[in-house]
Structure formats: C-alpha cells, structure tokens
Amino acid sequence: MNFTWFHRLGSPPYVYALAERLTPWFAWSAALLILAGLYGGLVLAPPDYQQGDGFRIIYVHAPSAWMSLMVYTSMALAAAVGLIWRIKVAHAAAAACAPVGASFTVAALVTGSLWGQPMWGTYWQWDPRLTSELVLLFLYLGYMGLRAGIEDTQRADRASAVLAVVGIINVPVIHYSVTWWNSLHQAPTVMRLAKSAMPPSMLVPLLMMLLGFTLFFGAVLLVRLRAEILTRERTSQWIREALGA
C-alpha cells in the first residue's frame, strides 16, 4: 500500500498550498449549486399539497440540519485522526469545523421553529429532531468553550479532540433516547415529507442544496484551515514562501 498521500496530508505546507488551490473550485461550484437549488426550490417546485408554499423552508432547513451533523462528524473524525497519529493539520481542521457547524446548527434551529409556527401553531415543539439539534448546539458550545478555556493550542487541540470523539459516540445515543422519549409522548412530526412521495421537481432542488451546502462547508473549511495552520506553524521557511512576500 502506498501511504504517501496520507503523509503529505500531514504536512502543513502541502496542505496549505492545496487548500489555497482548491478553495475557488469549492466556492464556485457551491455558489452555482445553491443558486440553481434556490431557483428550483422557490420557483420551479410545485407547492406541497398539504403545506402549500410553507414547505419551501425545507430547502434551507434540511441543508442546515444536514450541515450541523455532517460538520460534527467531520470534526470528530479529524479530531480522532489528530489524536491517534498526532497530526497537527488534523487538529487544525477539527478546530476549523466547530464554529461553522455551530452557526448552521443555529440556522437549523431558527428555520425549524419558523417552519413549526405555521405547521404546529407554535414556534417551539419538543420534537425529537429539533431537540436533538438543540443538544447538538450545546455539544458545539461545549467544544468551543473547552478550546477557549485552554490557552496552549496543542493542549486545547488534544483536549477538545477527546471531547469531540466522546461527543460523536454520544450523538446516536442522545438521538435514540430523544426519539424514544418523544415516541412516548406522541408529539406530531410534521416536519417530514415522505421521501417516496416527493416528486423529482421537489427532490432535485433539495439534493442540489444539500450538495451545495456541503461544498460551501468545504470552501469555508479550507480557508479556516489555512488560518489555523498559520497560527500553529513554527518553522518560518515555507510560511515566507506561502505568503508570497
């Protein structure tokens, strides 16, 4: 097996240069997909037969909710890689994930409650998905709080990595327990459109938005990653070249 690619991904100068090169690709394809998804979702897709035009919130709510979980998973994966192989770049990536994920978790919560008002008649319902989302926000806040509490970057990296890994093990447990708890109390779950019933004109824009948001995360992550690498790096040789001055 050839693991050179893996070793190269552990090398800050390589990753810095790679991130710089890849950012525009991610950014522009994300912009195109999101714009196309917006047009498809707001204009082309027909109103839902039950929820009318209100369902169109799904085109921002679902991608935000997807981001919150996907970013947390990426963060925990990066953290685990950093912890196990002591790769600084992986820790930098994990650190770059958290604020992005937290911001989209907030977006998912707000859009979810805006969707809830017309559907449930109340802005907040202790629905399992919203509740899990709220817990996820606290997991993000805990992660960022721990990072902020430790001055030394190396130690902050490793301590928060342990937390991220513990968190990701807990996410399914929390989700399961919240769903279980909810099923006992019989709250209505409106925020789900049956996937099989969704016609392509509704589904395609949604998929475009999901992909677009994911690529957007990629672009933001790459920019943040470069910032994180710079603050962690000590050898000045390549930085001078990378800064191009």
């Binding site: 002591r86 001055e151 190396q154 000590r234």
Partner: protein, 208 residues
C-alpha cells in the same frame, strides 16, 4: 551492574508561542547524575516532565536502554521516580499512610522497610502526624523517603532540596549518591549547589 541508560536527542518543546526546549540532548549511563541548571523559566521543569513522558516534545526523542520510551511508555514510567515542585502528599493522611498509598501502588513494600526509610530521612518522629500539620521541610523529607522507597533505576528530581535545612540538603546529596552506587541514574534540576558525595556528575545548563 548496569541498570539502564538514558539518551536524549534534540528535544524541542513548545508551549504556545514559547520555544521552551531548543534542541536539548545528553546521554547518561548507569551510576551517573545529571545536574540541570538554568535561570527560572529556562525549562528545567519542562525538561524533567518531558523526560518522564508527561509532556510530548515536538521533535527529538528520549531513549531508555536504546529504545524510544514512547514504545513502552508505561514500562518506562514504572521504572522511574519523579519528584516535582510539591511533595505528592495528601494533607489529610499521615506521613506513613501517604507512603503506604504512594509506594504500594508501584511495588510490594514491607512495613519495616517503610519505617527504615522514614528513619533514614529523619521523618520517623513525625511519621504518624497528618501531613497538614508538617512544615514544608518535613513534607519534603517524607517525599524523599518515598523517592528512596521506589527503588527504581531512574530518578527525576525537580529542586529536590527546596525548603530543606543544611542537613537536609546533605541528605539529598547522600540519597542521590546511594542511588548512583546502586547503579541507578538521576537527573536533578537545581539552582543551589547540591552537596553530592561521590558519583559521576554531568552538567547541563539550559539557556533561557
């Protein structure tokens, strides 16, 4: 009698923005003591903690008997005794109880041997008193008894003579000498002169 050898190569340690250890290296054979000097903040404590495997250097390695200590960290740590700034004693236990819980965690220990160690460091008169009632120097003596009782090849001592009177400082010197005579090694960070009776002493000065 060879118990081990310690080789340290090109250690680099960063704490945040501070480059604490800049390429520290030395080799120490059985029966030798390394005296580490340097002004406050030069990284003496960091060096000892890195040697003990508590801190992880960015570069360089520590080898025990020719093998990187990271390959069997627990085995290596079982063979060293580390004495930090503060004696690792519980204020609400007596001196004797403290040694009981500290040392028996690592090795079998007979009660007479424990008593003899207490006598050796002059801590026998206050062995049954709670540590919170002891003076700083008395606590230090209890900690030294623990150190001697570990009976491990490598000692890492951070200012071992702090708070001790002249007689206590001689005691530290003779304990180290005994350790070297047993074929052990010692690394001691000191800023006072250490009255070391015999044994081969190497010096390492850390630049700030």
């Amino acid at each position: 009698m060879s118990t081990g050898s310690l080789e340290v190569e090109n250690l680099h340690l960063w704490r945040g923005e501070r480059h604490v250890l800049r390429g520290v290296g030395f080799a120490l054979a059985a029966g030798e003591c390394l005296k580490v000097t340097g002004v406050n903040g030069a990284g003496k404590t960091s060096l000892l903690r890195t040697l003990a495997g508590l801190m992880y250097p960015e570069e360089g390695e520590v080898r025990w008997c020719g093998r990187n200590v990271r390959s069997d960290l627990r085995g290596f740590q079982g063979g060293l005794a580390y004495l930090g700034h503060e004696p690792p004693l519980k204020a609400d236990l007596t001196a004797r109880e403290n040694l009981h819980y500290w040392i028996r965690n690592r090795r079998q220990l007979s009660e007479p041997l424990l008593t003899q160690a207490l006598i050796r460091v002059g801590a026998e008169p206050f062995a049954e008193r709670l540590v919170r009632t002891l003076s700083a120097g008395q606590r230090r003596r209890v900690a030294l008894a623990g150190l001697a009782l570990c009976l491990v090849p490598l000692w890492l001592l951070d200012e071992p003579a702090t708070n001790l009177d002249a007689e206590g400082q001689r005691l530290v010197g003779s304990l180290i000498a005994e350790q070297l005579a047993r074929g052990g090694l010692a690394v001691a960070a000191v800023h006072h002169e250490l009255p070391l009776a015999g044994g081969a002493v190497r010096l390492l000065e850390l630049a700030p």
